[in-house]
């Protein structure tokens, strides 16, 4: 199986002098190209920092990140931007959308940057995706005129626009009610089964239980891992129990 992302002995620190602290303290991680993984851990354990490091959004102090056979620490800001725009998708907890643009414009924004001539095609693709996640009637709405769940669906559409190789999600259901959260997870599972790798950062056992591999972090290190069958089926409750048991076992 090909690895889409490889993190090798990543160290990321904040602060200077005696106040310097390693947020990532020699983390090594590998994600397969069709894998659905999640990272769990208490606040400050470094899980979001790991995601920012693996996606090239944040530099690292030492170690190495390889994305699709490209060493991210060896390439410049422009190429990093190109990779993020064309090969990665992102979903954040808060709807990271531009206030000035309507929903459709926000969704097509990253893809239309170099492809203005294909605006029609791009808009068509966006509409198809919006229909798929059930927000097709919202395209002209302002972002302040829709609910958090709807915004998050729009965020997923945006992440999918360039047919990325991986989707990074930082607490994508963190701001949603349980009904909306479940629907978002359904969409993400479907995307994964269609062949896109997904890496989620979460502190919610219900979300983690939907993924096939869970990495547990504490104090900047991956302290444990839990593997689950890829297909969720009807066993969601037992999967949640397993996750909770593991959390209790390692004390997070």
């Amino acid at each position: 199986m090909n690895k889409i992302v490889i993190g090798d002995n990543i160290v990321k620190s904040f602060g200077e002098g005696i106040e310097q602290r390693n947020i990532l303290d020699g983390v090594s991680v590998e994600i397969n190209e069709d894998e659905f993984v999640s990272v769990m851990g208490p606040s400050g354990s470094g899980k979001s920092t790991l995601m920012f490091a693996l996606s090239g959004m944040d530099g690292i102090n030492s170690g190495k990140v390889v994305f699709d056979n490209k060493d991210l620490s060896a390439i410049g800001e422009k190429q990093l931007s190109d990779i993020r725009r064309s090969e990665m998708g992102f979903i954040f907890q808060q709807p990271t959308m531009l206030k000035n643009l309507n929903i459709l414009d926000n969704i097509i924004l990253p893809s239309i940057r170099d492809n203005r001539k294909n605006a029609l095609k791009i808009s068509e693709k966006a509409r198809t995706l919006m229909e798929k996640v059930g927000i097709s009637e919202l395209e002209k709405r302002n972002i302040t005129q829709v609910s958090g769940g709807q915004l998050q669906r729009a965020g997923i559409c945006r992440a999918l626009m360039n047919s990325p190789k991986i989707i990074f999600g930082d607490e994508p259901t963190g701001a949603l009610n349980s009904q909306s959260a479940q629907e978002i997870m359904d969409i993400l599972s479907e995307i994964n089964t269609e062949g896109t790798a997904v890496m989620l950062v979460t502190h919610d056992a219900k979300v983690a239980a939907r993924t096939e591999r869970i990495m547990f972090m504490r104090d900047g290190k991956i302290v444990s891992e839990l593997k689950l069958p890829k297909s969720v089926g009807v066993n969601i409750d037992s999967r949640i129990e397993k996750v909770t048991a593991k959390m209790l076992e390692i004390g997070i």
């Binding site: 979001s48 920092t49 920012f52 959004m57 944040d58 800001e77 422009k78 931007s81 190109d82 990779i83 993020r84 725009r85 064309s86 992102f90 954040f92 907890q93 808060q94 990271t96 959308m97 531009l98 206030k99 000035n100 643009l101 309507n102 459709l104 414009d105 097509i108 924004l109 990253p110 239309i112 940057r113 203005r116 605006a119 791009i122 808009s123 966006a126 002209k140 302002n142 302040t144 945006r158 930082d170 607490e171 963190g174």
Partner: protein, 768 residues
Amino acid sequence: MYNRIIRNDILKSKAITLTTVIFVAAAAMLVSLAAILVINLTGALDTLMEKAETPHFMQMHSGEIDRHRLTAFAEQNNNVEEYQVVEFLGMDGSQIILGDNSLTNSVQDNGFSIQSEKFDYLLDLNGDIINISDGEIYVPVAYMKDNTAELGDTAVISGKEFTIAGFLRDSTMNSSLSASKRFLVSSNDFVEIKDLGNIEYLIEFRLKDYSKIGEFETAYASAGLEANGPTVTYTLFKTMNAISDGLMIAVILLVSVLVIAIAFMSIRFTLLAKIEDDYREIGVMKAIGLRLSDIKKIYLAKYAVIAAAGSILGFILSLMFQGVLLENIRVYMGESENAPLAIGLGIIGILLVFLAIVAYVNLVLKRFRKISAAEAIRFGTSKEKKVGAKRFTLSSNRVFSTNIFLGIKDVLARKRLYGTMLLVLVISAFIIIVPQNLYNTISSKSFIQYMGIGSYDLRIQTSDHEKTDDIVQTIESDSDVSKYAVLTTKTFKVKTSNESGENMKVELGDHSAFPIEYSVGRAPVRDDEIALSAINADEMSKKVGDVITLINEGKEKELKVSGIYSDVTNGGKTAKAVFTDNSANVMWTIVCVELSDKSFVDSKVLGYSSEFDFAKTSDINEFVSQTLGSTINSVEIASYAAVAVALVITTLVTLLFMKMLVAKDRYSIAVMKAFGFTNSDIKVQYVSRSVFVLIVGIILGTLLANTVGEIFAGALISSFGASTFNFAVNPLSAYLVSPLMMISMVLIATVIGIARAGQIKISENIKE
């Protein structure tokens, strides 16, 4: 606690705070300077006119004079306190050599007088009445100012040598607007040179009650006394003395109003941005029960510190710069007795600036009342925001690149925010273009039409009526002359509604040879027609077609007004007619000459000058530039200064706005970076924003400059006598160079202002 909050806040936004302080300082400096100048100007002017005992009424007269009749009039009129006749020995500039400089090219009427006996004294630079010895000469201070003469130089007047013993202040003829300049010599020397020039008389009166000057003027005119020359009153002397510094003060005040407006806008912009940033905190403070006034105090205190620092800095700067600006007043009028008062008023001026800023900040902070604590804490932003330009969408955009689209969209979506920047740029474009157009207009050849002068090559002016025929004969036989016209100016009495008479200068001759532009109507053609200058028509309330009555040799002559024209010469009060008249005294005659080959102008001027040494021959361009030269020069300097000021303002404001925007938009920038937009993408977006605002600003500014600005400039010019006024625009500088300069400064300022955007870390700004 306030100290700490203010200190931290200022340290966090050094550049923004500094820019705001600079604007406040500039505004405070200008207000304080204006106050200091006004007090010094009025004080120095009063001192000068008191010490010199300026006449209340002065009638200049050339020709015969009946002193008995004048004395009798003065004795009979019970408002007359003192009366005297001063002799003014007019001499051609070529006869006057000061040190190494000859006054040949001077368009001033230079002349010599002795110290007056009763009043209208000529003062030295200490403000004392000059006592002059034989062999000495005192030179008008204007010639010291332009470095024509130096103390101790030898002056040669028609071959007689004098030593320049000093410079004099002349309360009646000091001003550059006054066409005559008086030199002072001793009585013995005056007698010696008396035959070398033409004597004119200054008939001067001091009145017991100046408020009745109107009555006195009428009495003088109706007594039919000597009146072959201009009449000037005390008020006009005062205005003429004050006008050049007064104009400067007016310009300073105007600029200070603009700078204050800009300072206010910058404050408003930074304050609104800060409030938006602190929205959640303000909500929390409200929620935990802090009073509105307490919250306000935190913001108010910071701006009070900024305003105080700016005002004090501005005041110090104004004290440093006052010397330069007061120099003119000091040289021409002397020290003011009110100097300490000036400092006081300067302080009051900056206090007003300070209070205005505090009051303004208070006003802006009123919106705190509208902030809902619950909404602020939950959303961290105001929900009332409306997004504009809904139809301008990325999905339907086919014209702009994505980055340019995003830049323009942001401007359209946040119109109020960019409106502030737009206003500043409109003002900047306005203050770049208007003075430039004004300079271009008054320095262009077509401006001559506002002077009431036709288009010819050279003019020969003489007051010696008997020799006019000599000139005409020479011109007539000169084969290089293609056309000429003789225009004679005489004074006539005009019958007014209250049956008293008023004197009016009428230029007689063929006005069709060198036509001028008429704002209404046309040139006089028939004997019973007359054209009036705009100011004359206005004062006499006459329109084209109206009739005015001239009194000619005791007989009344009715003339129909055929046209009205602009004239900025002779105080703007002139008239033109074609009837022949042999009665009234000739004031002066001008022979207008057009040459078949323009390249002869210089040699012809030289030739005629030496042939007619009793007359003044000038190249018409030279004449215009000397008459209006100092005005053109000051407008030129003002236009360059305006360009510099406007560019500095443009740069500073753009820098300030861009820094503020980047600080405000950290989140959006992080989002775009997360989704693969590079730093250069972000740069293009911000540059598009400022260039878009700038283009709108330049267009609006140019439109305003050519409409409102033209009206302003026209009002200024019309006070000198021009009736219609159109800008002569130099398209290259107004529509290409100026916008290019603004665009370059805005681009540089934008790129510097958004440098921080490159350092914004995605993780720090969107991490949960």
